[in-house]
């Protein structure tokens, strides 16, 4: 059994005491920083990234994976407790998670998130071990045309993340792609869209952009209200889920895992997409569907499981093809590159201990997450008592420090301000930010591969449909576009979001 051999190699690497230690440190720090409001997984990873510089490649990636899971759980914690999603994927968790917290059931909600994530992580680890190798061999047949089409699929899928009109989501993608091109043209070195700003030659900092749109934008929306403070929270009843709660978690966890594993492989927001899809599916199939939106434990378990499974399987396209399937992966790639590893088909051959060690450490990271966090639920719940008049200035201070330390420049903090204000008004105009952010990330890569594909084909656009993989991917893109544009689905998407807002 090749699979066990590989997993054996992986666990052999991951179970080395030193590696276990780094994994633990990663999970711990990730959770602690991720639980600070305003610091989503992205900012957390970016901030803790320098800690991994001095380590060797295996250790640093293991620690980063730990940070990633820790920060993601930390992000879910703030989503449940203060209704502040640290990233778009946990936006769904806020719907029922926050309602549970308001009813004094923050403890069970946090437990559901941790257990659902652990289950999903276990299954997805095995899946990744099974699928990554074959996918890697296909990867070499991916030329510029295939990469281009793949990214188009990702961009189109991101529309499903946005509520409201299809046209606006498409426009946000285009706008994001354009803003993403800011900086220096990677072919000719020509400066573009820098508006005379010297700092923009290296492009706009992604972390700054995301913190501005999600962090500052969210605060401004909260301060719209009459009170400008968090609503009243019911007394905390019990910290642990009841037997009935546990029973209700099983089926949603399984379904969420399946959805997350499948969509996570899809580059370009697959993992983000999965939590939304899982939530919708649960809502349609659950016999408790009336409770959804009012604090159903299924509504926390399913998206969290899907989210984590997706996070796990999103390593596949990164390791096999070297393209980030979500924004956190983009940072992981940066970290790998910093270690001298070019993510891509060669990793599994040239650095098998890194490849399989990373996969094994994913599971260990998940296990540690449960061990570490279940006893700490009480502590996190007590965060609910922090009044909003401390909370929102704290979020702003954390965001500033996070962004400043990541880029070491004042300019990035100005970017936060500008992105926050523009993002806030766009959201007010019912333009969802998720497609914009994805376009921003994929913009330069999309252009790079488009231009290269054109050079190889002699300027013939038909290369995208004559190459079978590329053609198949484009068909998928068209199908997704068709599905999301059908009126009833569009309406259903809207329902999810209207409830989230109310």
């Amino acid at each position: 059994m090749e699979l066990f051999e590989h997993l054996g190699l992986g666990f052999g690497v991951a179970f080395l005491p030193l590696n276990l230690f780094y994994c633990f440190i990663g999970v711990l720090l990730g959770t602690v920083v991720g639980v600070l409001p305003g610091l989503g997984p992205l900012a957390t990873i970016a901030m803790l990234l320098p800690l991994t510089f001095g380590l060797d490649p295996v250790q640093s990636l293991i620690m980063l994976a730990g940070i990633y899971y820790g920060s993601q759980y930390g992000g879910s914690t703030t989503a449940i407790l203060v209704n502040l999603p640290g990233e778009s994927a946990s936006a769904v968790t806020t719907i029922d998670g926050y309602q549970m917290a308001l009813k004094g059931r923050a403890g069970p909600a946090l437990a559901a998130a941790a257990l659902g994530s652990f289950f999903a992580g276990t299954v997805a680890t095995v899946l990744v071990a099974l699928v990554a190798r074959p996918l890697t061999s296909i990867a070499l047949s991916f030329g510029p045309a295939e990469y281009f089409s793949l990214m188009v699929v990702g961009l189109i899928s991101s529309i499903a993340l946005a509520s409201g009109s299809l046209l606006k989501a498409l426009a946000m993608i285009c706008f994001g792609l354009l803003v993403g091109l800011t900086g220096t043209d990677i072919y000719t070195g020509a400066p573009r869209f820098t508006f005379g700003q010297f700092e923009l030659l290296d492009g706009i900092s992604f972390v700054a952009l995301a913190v501005g749109i999600y962090g500052i934008g969210e605060i401004l929306r909260n301060l719209e209200g009459k009170e400008g403070s968090a609503p009243v929270i019911a007394k905390v009843k019990s910290l642990w889920p009841s037997v009935d709660d546990l029973k209700r978690m099983i089926a949603p966890a399984v379904r969420g895992t399946a959805i997350g594993s499948l969509l996570g492989v899809l580059p370009g927001g697959g993992a983000l997409l999965s939590s939304f899809v899982a939530y919708n599916l649960e809502k349609k199939t659950s016999k408790n569907s009336a409770e959804f939106g009012k604090g159903a434990i299924e509504g926390v378990t399913a998206p969290e499981a899907a989210n984590n499974a997706g996070a796990q399987t999103s390593f596949v396209p990164m390791l096999a093809l070297g393209i980030p399937s979500n924004v956190v992966m983009a940072l992981m790639i940066g970290a790998m590159i910093m270690q001298g590893i070019q993510p891509g088909p060669n990793v599994v051959v040239s650095n098998p201990e890194i490849f399989w060690g990373l996969i094994a450490s994913m599971w260990i990271g998940n296990a540690m997450l449960v061990v570490l966090n279940l006893p700490l639920i009480g502590l996190w719940v007590s965060l609910l008592r922090v009044p909003y008049w401390i909370m929102f200035p704290a979020i702003i201070a954390f965001s500033c420090i996070g962004v400043y330390s990541v880029s070491n420049s004042a300019f990035a903090v100005y970017t936060v301000t500008i992105a926050g204000v523009i993002g806030y008004f766009l959201i007010k105009l019912d333009c969802e930010p998720a497609p914009f952010v994805l376009g921003f990330v994929l913009g330069p890569m999309l252009e790079e591969h488009l231009r290269r594909a054109m050079l190889i084909s002699g300027g013939d656009l038909s290369i995208f449909v004559t190459r079978p993989i590329s053609a198949a991917l484009l068909i998928v893109a068209v199908a997704v576009l068709f599905v999301v544009s059908r009126p009833n689905i569009a309406k259903r998407r809207q329902e999810v979001f209207v409830e989230e807002e109310s």
């Binding site: 046209l167 354009l178 000719t188 869209f193 401004l220 400008g228 401390i390 702003i396 330390s405």
Partner: protein, 153 residues
Amino acid sequence: MISDRKDAAAGLFFIAAGLLYGGIAWFMLPIGSALRMGPGYFPIVLSGLLVLLGAAIVARAFVHAQEMPFGAVPWRALGLISLATTVFAAFIEDLGMIPGVFVTTAIASLAGRKIRLSRVLVASALMAVFCTLVFSYAVRLPIPVIGPFFSGW
């Protein structure tokens, strides 16, 4: 008669952004050909698309009669929060972690609905101490605890 102002505004924003980026690409960047795309080619295609989508959104605003409330804009909060982040960016190197975070948090606190001086001071002091412990000592960010601005004292 525009029936959905929000759609109209969003559409106009996209048209403006498209024209801005398209204009820069058209006038300032080499465009090249479909075979050898210059740095301006892809941006022009995208800007064109953005203008078209923006126009479609504006057009739809005339047809749809679905006025959704825009809601209040918290202008004071917007201004104060922008000021807080700007002050942080401009002065953190000079002020250092403790005073910098204190000032930033204090300005941001004023964005709240009900302002009480004691609350502002408590929140700011708490944050200054907490951030210094976490970021200066634990994570060891290269921001001075007390900046050079105070070194003359």
